[in-house]
């Protein structure tokens, strides 16, 4: 009898302890809401009469809701850097603290993708989201500033036409990620509207003065350059048809060469044959003024014919044929296959 009473007390005690512990184990984390995702791609290509295999940046993407108004976004990539002792380097691509101060209006501080065009503001480094294998040619040509460290005021989906804006003031070209190299700042002003579903129309203006002897994209710019960039964008990603076209006019003014006019544009068009299969084309065109000193003058024309297959929304296969003509290298072609993943 005494033994039975003891056993009952023991069982009751165990149940009470499990109940308290279970409540603790079953709770959601008391820490803030943080997510880590990754993106990467591997590819195989045939060009210059050789078969080659490679892989792209491994992108770590972190978001965290710090509290009701503040959030953090960080993006770091690990990539092949031939000059590095290990042949690989790490780069902080985005590091942004965002403050949602009212409705759909935010302040952002940190290193951001310059909101100069649709592609740069939408796709960043996640190639699984790219409509094509690689970015349009104006990107590797460094036609536009990819990143700016600064402060931005942005808003989105305002009113019936879903107006959006972004005003970014930051370190200019030639600066490091953590300090401005001169007394001037760069200014990016962008606006867009989404008048109907899936359609976005945008324009932007970029203004910066690059100091003489500043190093930009591993090149020393010998003279001071006042750069203005005017960009227009049209994007439509519907159930069947996809269209993305952007053009940037660069006005680069120096005391010695006057104002050079340079033009970069691309047009992407795709047709969603099924939910998973999208054939597409892309045309690229880069034209430079004859006296251009800031850009490497290399007039370029290219067309791409490709297809995209969604195994899953974060596992995309792409196959492309590209015909490329540049002023410096002449005519080349390449066939490339890519597997882009998110995880």
């Amino acid at each position: 009898m005494r033994k039975q009473k003891h056993q009952k007390s023991l069982i009751l005690a165990i149940l009470i302890i499990l109940g308290i512990a279970g409540d603790g184990f079953g709770q959601n984390s008391i820490l803030q809401n943080t997510h880590i995702r990754g993106f990467m791609e591997v590819d195989a290509a045939y060009h210059d009469k050789k078969m080659t295999f490679g892989f792209g940046e491994q992108d770590l993407f972190i978001t965290s809701q710090l509290n009701d108004r503040f959030s953090f976004l960080g993006e770091a990539v690990f990539k092949y850097v031939p000059a590095s002792p290990t042949e690989f380097g790490v780069s902080i691509e985005r590091a942004i603290v965002k403050y949602n101060y009212s409705g759909n209006n935010n302040l952002l501080l940190g290193k951001q993708h310059t909101p100069i065009n649709f592609w740069n503001d939408t796709y960043h480094h996640g190639r699984v989201f790219y409509p094509t294998i690689e970015r349009p040619l104006l990107f590797p040509a460094n036609f536009i500033p990819l990143h700016t460290t600064g402060v931005a005021a942005e808003g989105h989906d305002l009113g019936n036409i879903r107006f959006g804006y972004n005003l970014l003031i930051g370190n200019g070209l030639g600066s490091s990620d953590v300090a401005n190299n001169d007394e001037r700042v760069s200014v990016t002003a962008a606006v867009h509207i989404k008048p109907v579903e899936n359609l976005k129309l945008g324009v932007s203006y970029y203004n910066d003065v690059i100091s003489a002897n500043a190093t930009v994209n591993d090149r020393i710019i010998p003279v001071q350059v006042h750069q203005q960039l005017f960009t227009g964008s049209i994007s439509y990603f519907g159930k069947k048809f996809e269209l993305l076209t952007e053009g940037t006019l660069a006005l680069d003014k120096t005391d010695s060469t006057g104002t050079q006019h340079d033009w970069a544009s691309y047009l992407y068009a795709g047709y969603r044959v099924t939910d998973k299969f999208v054939p597409y084309i892309r045309l690229d065109n880069l034209q430079y003024g004859s006296g251009e000193v800031y850009y490497i003058k290399n007039n370029t024309r290219s067309y791409i014919v490709g297809m995209r297959y969604y195994v899953d929304y974060l596992l995309v296969l792409k196959l492309e044929y590209q015909n490329l003509h540049t002023e410096i290298q002449g005519q080349t072609f390449a066939v490339t296959f890519q597997i882009a993943v998110g995880f």
Partner: protein, 156 residues
């Protein structure tokens, strides 16, 4: 007399066939309008237009009118209800909706929705989070949850 009986039999037969067909249509119409928007009692409006509901579920609203943060809760898009919500709200299938949200989140535009396996979990989350909104398939009204009228109606 016999002819009258035959005609009467046919009329009765077709009458009941008509009743059956009509009831099928009525019940499928009821199924077409079986989604319900629910929200936490704090912050979420009691009535909303369909266009506004879609805007919310596309990440186009960060705050409700009183400043409460918009928090989206969804049942997994791989469930039948999740797939129905995907088609009706996003005009996409479940996988496309996941891709849509992955792109939005990666661009830093909006937080990804909170996703759950069951409606009960969705309701619990909504009840515990001011500003939370979700779509399920039944009307719920408690001290913490309200059923939101969409275009003046409880179901859509």
């Amino acid at each position: 007399m016999r002819i009258r009986a035959i005609i009467y039999d046919h009329l009765v037969k077709y009458f009941f066939i008509g009743i059956l067909l009509t009831s099928c249509c009525l019940s499928s119409r009821a199924q077409d309008n079986n989604l319900v928007a629910i929200g936490n009692q704090i912050g979420v409006p009691s009535e909303i237009k369909m266009s506004e509901l879609k805007a919310v579920f596309h990440g186009e609203r960060q705050r409700w009118g009183n400043g409460t943060k918009v928090i989206i809760a969804m049942i997994k898009t791989t469930t039948p209800l999740g797939n129905e919500i995907s088609e009706k709200i996003y005009s996409k299938n479940g996988e496309e909706v996941r891709g849509f949200w992955a792109g939005i989140m990666f661009a830093g535009k909006f937080d990804a929705p909170n996703v759950f396996n069951t409606e009960a979990e969705v309701e619990t989350f909504v009840s515990q989070n001011p500003g939370a909104i979700a779509i399920i398939d039944k009307v719920v009204t408690t001290a913490d949850i309200k059923t939101i009228l969409v275009g003046g109606k409880k179901t859509f």
